[in-house]
């Protein structure tokens, strides 16, 4: 090799900048290779443990990245700074919690564990890459890695009709949305001559914004809005969440959303996307309203939380309409708090659902407070956090978002948001009332909480309370990260 090609080869530090992704991919591949070699009956535990170690190693790798100087890698495709490390940690922690939840779930539902854990890890690779990518090409690839993994995982209970149906719906609408996103990327390339977000930002800032760029931003927003389940691109959400395996719903309602919000932050703020304000205003207001109204009439807890996740995407988007200096940290804090409480909710649901996911209606939760006080108490904590009650992470998440909106004089949007929070409290409280003030319908004891699930609940419960009691450190970190983005 000539010296000049040697110079252009990636340096050691560049590999550190994609270290979490490397670790996750390696463990995913090991699981795929081991799967046919080990005994079917014992494989679930073993492969799950390997996946857990993989996700913990990825958390450690993200921590290690904080020690290294921030910078770009691989010809400016990836940039690792406080902003992307924040999302790396959110995604990898959610992955670990989901794997802990899945231990019991795979046994109870009698599912084959091999590809399941591998796909969860591969999905996490895509999400981590999404949050550090600064190139539209890489963002697209990362988005697809994460999406294709979740399409398959949604249909993982493949002998169950509703699961494979949810997978078909998710796949068709998801790839339709990706196609829109891609068309937007192609037009953006045409309008600015680059796919690097920084260069696009420079071009758009420098001269008159071509009409093509407006169309491109709108199309990209359609694609990304679908992935975060923002109205009016939310139609798929309740159906997919109802049919998909419960731990996977916990996964795909938090980690990919966090990653796509990271992409949205980069695309909208760093590229100085034109015409973003009114676009976000409308989508945020619609998401909050349609999500909360839809949730009022649901009887299935997974559907209820699906509508709630639409509403929360709306609250989060309020922060996008605010000024970058206060909006970006608020949005980052919200993704972390939402990830903690929602993944916890679905950990409880996947335990309580039992074989064949029989118990998923609100009626089934009647009297849970007496039948299993611990499950009921943890679920109550997460639901209170989703409402936004003080001392939980959800409170400060909403508080920061709405105060950021007020700083930007978005009074109308804030009023809509606060009114919606009040509506939202109704259906979350309905579940809590069900658990504590109704007689149990059946007296069969709830299965005892196994170690893995206990750990999952402990982590998400701790994170929810930590963000609610001591939000300062996380918020400071988010502020310092947001400062790098502009």
């Amino acid at each position: 090799m000539t010296p000049s090609t040697l110079q252009t080869l990636p340096q050691g530090i560049e590999y550190v900048r994609i270290l979490p992704e490397i670790v996750l991919s390696a463990f995913g591949i090991v699981i795929m290779l081991l799967d046919p070699l080990v005994d079917q009956r014992r494989s679930s535990r073993m492969l799950g443990t390997i996946a857990l170690i993989g996700s913990l190693a990825a958390i450690a790798a993200s921590q290690y990245q904080t020690q290294c100087p921030p910078g770009t890698a691989f010809w400016d495709m990836v940039r690792v700074d406080a902003f992307s490390i924040f999302f790396h940690i959110v995604v990898t922690t959610v992955t670990a919690v989901v794997i802990l939840t899945s231990f019991e779930y795979m046994d109870v539902q009698q599912l084959h564990a091999g590809e399941y854990y591998a796909l969860v890890l591969f999905g996490a690779v895509g999400m981590c890459l999404m949050s550090s990518a600064v190139e539209l090409v890489l963002i697209f690839i990362a988005l697809e890695i994460s999406s294709i993994s979740t399409y398959i995982l949604a249909g993982y209970r493949r002998r169950v009709a509703i699961s494979s149906e949810s997978s078909v719906k998710y796949f068709l609408l998801g790839s339709f949305a990706t196609a829109f996103f891609l068309y937007g990327v192609a037009l953006m390339f045409g309008a600015t001559g680059s796919t690097s977000i920084a260069k696009i930002g420079e071009t758009l800032n420098a001269g008159p914004v071509p009409l093509l760029a407006y169309v491109a931003i709108a199309l990209m927003f359609v694609g990304l809005g679908f992935k975060v389940a923002a109205a009016p691109f939310h139609i798929w959400t309740p159906d997919v969440y109802e049919g998909a395996p419960a731990p996977i719903v916990g996964f795909m309602s938090t980690a990919p959303k966090a990653a796509v919000f990271a992409v949205l932050l980069r695309v909208l703020f760093e590229a100085h996307a034109p015409g973003r304000l009114w676009l976000i205003w409308v989508v945020a207001a619609l998401s909050m309203t349609l999500g909360n109204i839809g949730a009022l009439v649901q009887d299935n807890i997974k559907r209820l939380l699906a509508y709630s996740s639409i509403a929360h995407a709306g609250y989060l988007l309020v922060a996008f309409a605010a000024l970058p200096s206060s909006g970006i940290p608020a949005a980052m804090f919200y993704t972390a708090a939402y990830a903690a409480m929602n993944v916890g909710c679905f950990a409880v649901i996947s335990h309580f659902a039992s074989a064949g996911e029989r118990r998923v209606t609100l009626e089934d939760y009647a009297g849970l407070g007496r039948r299993s006080p611990i499950l009921a108490a943890t679920l109550t904590l997460f639901l209170l956090s989703l409402i936004g009650i003080p001392i939980t992470g959800g409170f400060f998440a909403k508080f920061y978002v709405f105060s950021a909106a007020l700083q930007a004089d978005l009074v109308g949007l804030t009023v809509i948001g606060v009114l919606n929070s009040a509506v939202g409290a109704y259906y979350y409280l309905r579940v809590i009332v069900m658990m504590y003030m109704r007689e149990p319908r059946e007296e069969t004891p709830v299965a005892p909480i196994p170690f893995g699930l206990g750990a999952a609940l402990a982590i998400s419960g701790f994170a929810t309370l930590y963000l609610g009691l001591l939000p300062g450190r996380v918020l400071e970190y988010a502020r310092s990260a947001a400062a790098l983005l502009r």
Binding site: V137, S167, V168, S194, T195
Partner: protein, 101 residues
């Protein structure tokens, strides 16, 4: 005869895009819907290659990525469709109806 400009390619791509969107929205058969999505992706490719005339090779390289991704997506999509067909014995979109409020 007037030379073919970049704009001509863009118009063809836009037409393909519209055809794809209409196909996704109106066709009953999931396989045809999948083909319509591929049509949109090809519109993207055409756009990228056309813009390459102005901005350089980058667009063509991007379109190779898009082609690869389309193949992966089709493979996974047909697999999902087979799993669905085993449960419901149909590939029609309007019979994908177990889940609704």
């Amino acid at each position: 005869m007037a030379p073919i400009t970049t704009l001509h390619y863009l118009v063809v791509a836009a037409a393909l895009f519209v055809l794809g969107v209409v196909g996704v929205l109106t066709r009953r058969n999931v396989v045809v819907v999948l083909m319509s999505i591929e049509l949109i992706l090809n519109a993207v490719n055409l756009n990228l290659v056309a813009f390459s005339r102005i901005w350089g090779l980058q667009g063509q390289i991007f379109s190779i990525f898009v082609i690869t991704d389309a193949a992966a997506e089709a493979a996974v999509g047909l697999g999902i469709l087979i799993a669905f067909f085993r449960n419901k014995e149909t590939v029609n979109v309007d019979e994908v109806d177990l889940l609704k409020w």
